[in-house]
Every structure is written in structure tokens, then in C-alpha cells.
């Protein structure tokens, strides 16, 4: 994983740069999902006000907008630090990706600035200045602006995982965009966007439910809490179910373009057809398993055929394991995926041809000589990054992080679905099911006997009910961050899949200077997070402004 943190050599620079980028991205991701999630909650609350003209809903909408505003303000600009890190710590990478990264990020910056600065202002300042319809549109457009921003960022991220719509120019040493549509509408980006944004709605919903439960526990703002909780439960349940569906689609994309990531997520050492999904197995969290010699992870309990279905939509589909990918395999359609050794040889050929091409051009060699080298580069560019791989095992990501992070994410996703279903049955009086749920909870002592037949009663429950909702907030963040761990650890060692490993992408910096800024960020981010949480808590304690 991070093996070189205390080494004052190039490897130390790589690991500190990776750690710093991870820290910044994780910190930035604390704010983004809550912004996206609360945008839906506040939008629905204001829509209810628009439709009913009930002043209660205006107050509720304003309250959720206030919490949205605190989170938005604290998160704004934290993502810019990532761009600084590209320019300083990852300069080879930044140059190599060329305008492919620049274009989506520029669109994101412009759209975010204009949409958010306009509609956020109308949302907060415009209650008495614009019509209710225009205000409602501004509230939804604020959320849409944030979602569109997420789209462009995820397009840039998806390109690193599945580089499409580009061509490498050996003169400029940059990947140049040949199709904006291919980059912007890459199927990998679409799947990533859907799964990421929908899972963010779960965080917003859980946050909403937790705040409501806190009020119910304190026996205050009861109407706001019970009515807002209904919004939270519906948004949460729908989002959690959709996250499962989009997660399935994401896993298929990963299986197609990053089979090593899928194999690491599953600790699948040797693949084949009819593969079962590992429900649980013993994978030591601290060391890389001996995948070359073990048949499979020990104590493995699997769901038959489920991995084949997850990866290929076919219960009998073929899923390659780590050893298959390392040694080469034949796909079901008959195409042969070369072994990593073969890819390494072709990658070296591309790099040598690149050096020869540039030298030939500098020395004014004949066109045929230059073109010969150019055709070698083009023929082998697909495996360019493999030219930096010394040992084929270097392309295997750290399996334990992928394996456990994936299980934590999926496991918590299932917990959220179950929780929202139970809450829904407690809130609404759904014939048979609500009574059954209440009696079941009462029979195991989770609900007082007196409440077993009392529908829609959310106040006066044992306090652990409320604390469960509050405890789900950090768990929702853990699930979300685990998703990113799988996405980013799973593609190691690549900064750009198959094209550029981390040790070629990193700048030639001293490890200690990156370590210093890492510690600086740790202090800065911790302070800012403490400030945000304290302001957020203060506003929740204060409650809505009663007009």
C-alpha cells in the first residue's frame, strides 16, 4: 500500500504525494455528497411549500437551506487544492493528460461559478424579491449546478480509469482530445456519475433523518422533524435502491475496462465461468495475500454465480482472476488478452520508439525514419505505461484495501436499505406490514409493548432508536469514502489506466517537502472540519427561524 513513507528517496515522494492527494480528496468528499444530498431535501421541502402554500414548509425549506449553506460554504474551493497538487506533485501526469483534463475542469469551473453564484444568491436572498416559482426554480437549479459540477469532475476522473477520445502526440508529449463527446459521455463516466451522485443522496437523507431524530429525542421541533423525516426516508430508500442498481452497472464497467480492480475487490486469484460472489473470506487486512500460490482466499463463503452475473449480466459469464490477468487469458468472444510480460515488452517498445522519434526529429532525420518510429509508437501506445513496470506483480493493487472497502460499502448499503424500510413502516400505516414490523420490534424488545399497535408514533421511542439514526451519519460517510477507496486503490499503480503509473507521473521532488505539506494539510483540514462541525451543530441546536 504505502510502503515508502519514511524513505527519503523517490519511492517516498510517490507515497507522500499519493497520501497527500488522498487526504485532500477525502476531505473534499466530506462536503460534496452532503451538498448534493441536501439539495434534494431542501428542493422537496420548498416544492411542498410551493404546492401547499403552507408557511410551515417555507420554514422547513429555509432550515434545510441554512444547513446546506453552512456545508456549501465550508466545502467551497477545497477541491482547488487538488489542482495545485497536480501542477506541483504530479507535473509529468499533468502535462501528459494535456487538454483532456483541462477541458472538463474548465467547464466545471465556469458552470459552477455562474450557476451557483446566481442561484445560490436568489435562494438565500430572494425570498421576498422574486416570485415563489422563480425561487423554487433557483433552489432546484442550485442543486442542479452542484450536480453538473460533479459531472465534469467525474468525467475527468473516469478518463483516468478509462482513457478514451484522445490521441497521444509525441511532439507535444500530450494526449490530445479527438472527441469531446467520447470523453464527456464515456460510458464509464456515466456509470460513475450515476452511482456517485445517487449515493450522495443517501448521505443527505441519512443526515436529514439524523437531525430529525435528534429533535424528536429532545422533544422539540416535532412537526419539522416528523414531516422532514418522511422526505428523508423516501429519498434515502429510493437512493439506496438505485445505488444498488447503479453499483451493479458500475461493477460491469469495471469488469470490462479494469478487470484487475474487480479481481482485487473480490480477492479472485483464479477466475473462470460460473463465478460466485464472495460474501466473506479471510483476507489479512495488513498484507498482500499469496495469490500466485493460493487457489482462493481462505474461509470463503460465496453466493453462487453472483459474481459472474454482477460482472457480465450472465450467471455463467467468464470473470478473469488476478493470475489470469497476469498470465494472459482468452475472452469469451475469442479475443486473447496478452500476458503482462507481453504488455511490458510492447510498452518498452513504445517508449524506446518515443525516444528514437524525438531524437530523429531533433537531428533532422528523414521522414521515413521519423514515420517508422511514429508507427511503432501508435501500434504499442495502448500498453505505453507497461514500459515502466519492472515486475508483472507490480500491477496488482493492494488486495486487502479493495476487498474490505468493497464489502464495507456494500454491507452498509444493505443496512441503509433495511433501516429505511423499517423507518418507512414505522412512519406510515401500511396495512399488515407496519403492524407486523412494530410487533416484531416489540417482540424482541426493540419497541415498547404499548407502541406495538400505535401507528405513526415517532416521539417517545427508546433513545437508542434516535441514536441509531445519528450513528448512521458517520457510517454513511464511511460507505461513501470506501467507494472512493475501491475506485482509486483498485486502479493502482495507474494514474492513467495502462498509460502512466504513479512512479512515472510524479514530479522529481524531495519527499520531505511533500511530507511537510501533507502535515500542514492535516492540521488545516482538521481545523476547518472542526469549525464546520461546530457551526453545523450550533445551527441544528438553534433550529429553524420561527417567523
Amino acid at each position: 500500500m504505502f510502503n515508502h513513507l519514511f524513505l527519503d528517496i523517490d519511492a517516498g515522494t510517490i507515497d507522500w504525494s499519493r497520501a497527500q492527494f488522498a487526504l485532500t480528496a477525502i476531505y473534499h468528499w466530506l462536503f460534496v455528497p452532503l451538498t448534493l444530498g441536501l439539495a434534494v431535501i431542501m428542493g422537496i421541502a420548498e416544492t411542498k411549500y410551493y404546492r401547499t402554500k403552507d408557511e410551515f414548509w417555507k420554514e422547513a425549506a429555509k432550515f434545510w437551506q441554512k444547513l446546506f449553506g453552512v456545508n456549501f460554504a465550508m466545502g467551497v474551493a477545497t477541491g482547488i487544492i487538488l489542482e495545485f497538487e497536480f501542477g506541483t506533485n504530479w507535473s509529468n501526469y499533468s502535462w501528459f493528460v494535456g487538454d483532456i483534463f483541462g477541458a472538463p475542469l474548465a467547464v466545471e469551473g465556469i458552470v459552477a461559478f455562474f450557476m451557483e453564484s446566481t442561484f445560490v444568491a436568489v435562494m438565500f436572498f430572494g425570498w421576498k424579491k422574486v416570485s415563489p416559482g422563480f425561487h423554487l426554480a433557483s433552489t432546484w437549479l442550485t442543486g442542479l449546478g452542484a450536480t453538473i459540477s460533479a459531472w465534469w469532475i467525474l468525467v475527468a476522473n473516469a478518463w483516468m480509469q478509462y482513457p478514451v477520445g484522445c490521441e497521444f502526440n509525441p511532439d507535444t508529449m500530450r494526449n490530445e482530445m479527438v472527441s469531446f463527446a467520447e470523453v464527456a459521455l464515456s460510458p464509464f463516466a456515466v456509470d460513475k456519475f450515476c452511482h456517485t451522485v445517487i449515493s450522495s443522496w443517501i448521505i443527505g437523507a441519512i443526515f436529514c433523518v439524523a437531525v430529525c431524530c435528534w429533535y424528536l429525542m429532545k422533544k422539540r421541533e416535532t412537526k419539522l422533524a416528523t414531516e422532514s423525516m418522511k422526505i428523508g426516508v423516501w429519498v434515502g430508500l429510493i437512493a439506496a435502491l438505485l445505488a444498488g442498481a447503479t453499483g451493479h452497472k458500475s461493477a460491469q464497467s469495471v469488469g470490462e475496462v479494469q478487470p484487475m480492480k474487480l479481481a482485487a475487490m473480490e480477492a479472485l486469484y483464479n477466475g473462470g465461468t460460473d463465478q460466485g460472489l464472495t460474501a466473506i473470506a479471510w483476507v489479512n487486512p495488513f498484507c498482500q495475500p499469496d495469490y500466485a500460490n493460493e487457489e482462493s482466499a481462505p474461509l470463503k463463503i460465496e453466493i453462487p454465480y453472483a459474481l459472474s452475473f454482477m460482472a457480465t449480466n450472465d450467471f455463467n459469464g467468464y470473470v478473469p482472476g488476478i493470475n489470469d490477468i497476469l498470465n494472459g487469458y482468452t475472452k469469451p468472444d475469442g479475443t486473447v488478452e496478452p500476458s503482462v510480460d507481453e504488455k511490458i515488452a510492447r510498452g518498452k517498445k513504445a517508449i524506446e520508439a518515443l525516444a528514437a522519434y524525438r531524437q530523429a526529429k531533433a537531428e533532422g532525420a528523414s521522414d521515413s525514419m521519423v514515420n517508422d518510429q511514429l508507427s511503432i509508437i501508435k501500434a504499442n501506445m495502448k500498453y505505453f505505461g507497461y514500459g515502466y513496470i519492472k515486475d508483472k506483480n507490480d500491477i496488482v493493487p493492494f488486495i486487502p484495501v479493495n476487498f474490505w472497502a468493497f464489502r464495507i460499502m456494500v454491507g452498509l448499503g444493505c443496512v441503509f436499505i433495511l433501516y429505511f424500510i423499517v423507518l418507512l413502516l414505522l412512519i406510515y400505516d401500511i396495512p399488515f406490514f407496519s403492524v407486523l414490523t412494530r410487533r416484531l420490534l416489540a417482540s424482541v424488545g426493540l419497541l415498547p409493548e404499548t407502541m406495538a399497535d400505535a401507528p405513526r408514533q415517532l416521539t417517545g421511542l427508546p433513545s437508542w432508536h434516535y441514536w441509531t439514526a445519528i450513528a448512521l451519519v458517520p457510517l454513511a460517510y464511511i460507505a461513501s469514502e470506501c467507494g472512493w477507496l475501491v475506485a482509486e486503490f483498485g486502479r493502482q499503480p495507474w494514474t492513467i489506466q495502462d498509460m502512466l503509473p504513479t512512479w512515472a507521473a510524479v514530479s522529481d521532488l524531495h519527499a520531505s517537502s511533500v511530507a511537510f505539506t501533507f502535515i500542514l494539510f492535516l492540521i488545516l483540514f482538521s481545523t476547518m472540519l472542526a469549525v464546520e462541525i461546530s457551526i453545523l451543530f450550533k445551527q441544528i441546536k438553534k433550529g429553524p427561524d420561527h417567523e
Binding site: 441554512k66 449553506g69 453552512v70 460554504a73 465550508m74 467551497v76 474551493a77 477545497t78 482547488i80 487544492i81 495545485f84 497538487e85 501542477g87 506541483t88 506533485n89 507535473s91 509529468n92 499533468s94 502535462w95 501528459f96 444568491a121 436568489v122 438565500f124 436572498f125 430572494g126 424579491k129 422574486v130 509525441p170 511532439d171 507535444t172 508529449m173 500530450r174 510498452g347 518498452k348 517508449i351 518515443l354 525516444a355 524525438r358 514500459g387 515502466y388 512512479w503 512515472a504 514530479s507 522529481d508 521532488l509 505539506t517 500542514l520 488545516l524 476547518m528 469549525v531 457551526i535 445551527q539
Partner: protein, 72 residues
């Protein structure tokens, strides 16, 4: 400026909004402090443009050398 003109209404929205902020004042103060830290302190002192400093105008040549040498 006419009070019912579009530009005045936009100006009034922001002017009146900023003037009557309560929690917003704290949030704007935090945003400004954060922006100063990010752009003045971090960018200027800790995150220089590495290629601009080291490539001396020939970024493509510098990256080409780096990428071909690191494969050896």
C-alpha cells in the same frame, strides 16, 4: 438607475442580501480566510508550477526526458 429596471433589481438582490446577512457573515468570513490561505499561502509558497520552474520553457522536452529516462 430606474428602480424597476432589471439591473437595479439584481443589484438590490445582492446588496440587500449581503446587508441583512447574519450567519452568512460568519460563513463569508470563513470563505475569505480560506481563499487567502489557499491562493496566497498555499499556492504561492508551497505549490509552485513545477514544470515552469524546471523545464525552462521546453515543457515537452523536459517531460519526454523524464518519461523516457524513468523507463530505464
Amino acid at each position: 438607475m430606474q428602480k424597476d429596471s432589471f439591473l437595479y433589481k439584481v443589484f438590490d438582490l445582492y446588496y440587500d442580501g449581503f446587508r441583512s446577512m447574519r450567519l452568512g457573515r460568519t460563513l463569508w468570513a470563513i470563505i475569505l480566510i480560506k481563499l487567502v490561505i489557499i491562493f496566497v499561502v498555499l499556492k504561492l509558497f508551497f505549490f509552485p508550477d513545477f514544470l515552469k520552474q524546471n523545464a525552462k520553457g521546453d515543457e515537452a522536452g523536459y517531460v519526454a526526458t523524464e518519461l523516457t529516462e524513468r523507463a530505464k
